[in-house]
Subunit: 417 residues, 2 copies
């Protein structure tokens, strides 16, 4: 099952070749393969952890920092989580074949719109080897080939996981190439990968700004950007301040390293005097940097520059801006935000409505933490990422976002006049 | 209202600056502006036709062929058609604000998905100056700024049309920059245009293969490809052959130069002996090129090579392939087709079902002409193009395809556990 001697283009042809069989696979067949893959990961645990050890030893020798090595590490409980993720995806409804719209035309044509797989979904990702299994699961359930390119640091881990999954899939009469792993992890191969227009229907990059830049410059395949989350919490004049503190605390500190964590606090001047001291006390241990107005209220707030407002800290740090009205808040959020998730805390329904209408983001929230913008929390069951672009998918991407639609037109001999 | 001295980046900032006002404009306001623009095109007819004359004279001197000059030409009736197109768009339902989905979560969060404008829609197009008005109309109705870059050959015509429309929009209390026309028609400016990520939310190129190649290589803004239509008509063993002749005749000859015209005929071997002579007789004046099997049936069919099967002739020429079964037909269509519109003629429901499921295209048709794959014919009222890509929009693009969706999440203080 090794694919190491193949060129990137060969791998692309293999991925493309497997797509038709996956597109017509029944829900039962796909679910059986998902369960078999989960079992296989468990059965092959020793071999996978052995491969992972090789990566960890090499990574340690190459000086990869401990926090990143931790992301790379696999153990029994992480493998268990991967297996259980596959079983959960098996339990989700199959999006393929859903008729999303249907209508008749005066000339008797019956038109329907049917959900179909994209075909070959390519994913470029970093470090965490669990993505190999998670991405495969979502792609398989949505009838897509998973064409995966992980990081060089996780190569042996990914190879071992892919081998187990491919065996399980083939044992269930679906093509092993339902998962094709790129083992050439050079930068050149990455660029070649993102130009395989004949083989890739959609590329989803999961990585930092340098990967996104490389995609923008080099990719010719269609892609969905899973970008930054420079998320704001706006505390309106009509906010319940205790609720605002609780939401801000959750949005900032619950998991600071993720994209739906808050990075910036915007406060209405009418409540800033009362709110900022409450926030500083509740978010003990968080570094606040702010504008002149906020610093006059509290000397504990350091000075912020424009860069701070544009920065996704991903850490226990937050920028503060005091605004004199809702319009200024909206303007600031639209200017500084990254179009991910933006929250308003307010008891004023008109203010909430205006914020929701005028803020340009994948998700706007009223009186709730930005942390809820997530496939699981939205009820999608799982997610492949969170899109910050406006085309195709915006916000959390679940199984439906891994499909496209096809028009089916049925007639009885109609021709156009 | 002249914009000729601005840089491309300046124009982008102006387009971006107009987007918020358009996004919140009411349906009534947008419809009033559309009617005013229609009136204005009529009132300014002399000035517009004068500008068009300049283009025609220059084009003639530069040796533009007559058939292209005809596309460029404006007269009273073409202006009338442009104006009436704007009025028709005013009559279409406003897609903005439509709630496309809504659900509650166990924690009390209410989530809805709301249709919102993309923001700034950029369009690069060739020759026909009516696109300036048509694209503006669809963009305005869907709450988007139209950021337009026409061809150098139509510069004076586009300038005159844009001036009229901008005046009419401004007279109706919406920003004149609802339409921003790029007057620098150099290739360098086109490349700069397709890299304005801060200003452009979606680029829709309407042009030939060289424009598409340039987009793939240079664009960093999100785009939707309106690509080739290498469309097939497959005549199955169970086809009503008279119906098949009528559909093939319509698909090939009704308007050979458009993307939903048929370019290739695939015939089941079981009916090829009877069908091909019928088709040749009915499609008198059409050049047939085909494989050995088809040529043994009729000497009137010339030899076809692989290139012929891959070619969008856009002319009275068609390629022919005889297949021994449905699977071979599907494989050929998927291999040679461009994913646009593919038709089967058959009385066999199972064959129709399999063709619809396994053919990978924006639209599949059963017993109907490929010519129906069109925004008007689908009932969208108008179209900005026909997408051959799988992301965002696939097939005819109407007003809904010029929007994106936003999640609105409403709570009463929920934080994530």
């Amino acid at each position: 099952m090794s694919v190491s001697t193949s060129t990137i283009a060969d791998l692309g042809r293999r991925a493309r070749g497997a797509a038709p069989a996956l597109a017509v696979a029944s829900t039962g067949q796909k679910n059986a393969a998902l369960h078999a893959a989960a079992d296989r990961l468990f059965a092959d645990a020793d071999r996978i952890i052995e491969g992972n050890q090789l990566d960890l030893v090499r990574g340690g020798a190459e000086g990869i920092p401990d926090n990143l090595l931790d992301r790379l590490r696999l153990d029994g409980s992480r493998l268990e989580a991967m297996a259980s993720g596959l079983r959960q995806v098996a339990d989700l409804p199959d999006p393929v074949g859903e008729v999303t719209d249907a209508w008749d035309r005066p000339n008797g044509l019956r038109i329907s719109k049917v959900r179909v797989p994209l075909g070959v979904v390519a994913i470029i990702y970093e470090m965490r080897p669990n993505v190999t299994s998670d991405a495969f699961g979502l792609c398989l359930k949505s009838g897509n080939v998973a064409f995966l390119r992980g990081s060089s640091a996780a190569l042996e881990s990914n190879r071992a996981i892919a081998a187990s999954i491919r065996t399980a899939v083939a044992d269930n009469d679906l093509p092993a190439d339902a998962l094709v792993l790129v083992e050439d992890v050079s930068r050149e191969a990455a660029v070649e990968f993102m130009r395989l227009r004949d083989s890739i229907d959609c590329l989803i990059p999961r990585g930092g700004p340098s990967l996104i830049r490389s995609i923008l410059e080099n990719a010719t395949v269609p892609y969905v950007i899973d970008g930054d989350g420079n998320c704001h919490v706006y505390v309106d004049a009509a906010a319940d301040l205790d609720m605002a503190v609780s939401i801000l605390h959750n949005a900032k500190t619950h998991r600071p390293s993720v994209c739906n964590a808050a990075e910036s606090l915007v406060v209405h001047a009418g409540v800033a005097d009362r709110f900022l001291p409450m926030a500083l006390a509740a978010l003990d241990g968080v570094e606040f940097v702010g504008d002149g107005h906020s610093r006059r209220i509290s000397p504990a707030i350091g000075p912020a520059d424009d860069d701070d407002y544009a920065t996704e800290f991903l850490d226990l740090k937050i920028s503060v801006r005091v605004v004199t009205n809702l319009a200024e808040a909206i303007e600031h959020v639209n200017h500084a935000g990254s179009g991910h998730s933006e929250a308003i805390v307010t008891g004023d329904e008109a203010a909430a409505e205006r914020f929701c209408t005028e803020v340009d983001a994948a998700a706007v929230l009223v009186n709730a933490s930005t942390r809820f913008v997530d496939g699981e929390e939205f009820g999608f069951g799982a997610e492949i990422g969170i899109s910050t672009q406006k085309l195709h998918a915006r916000g959390p991407m679940g199984l439906a976002q891994l499909t496209t639609e096809k028009y089916v037109v049925r007639g009885d001999g109609q021709v156009r006049a």
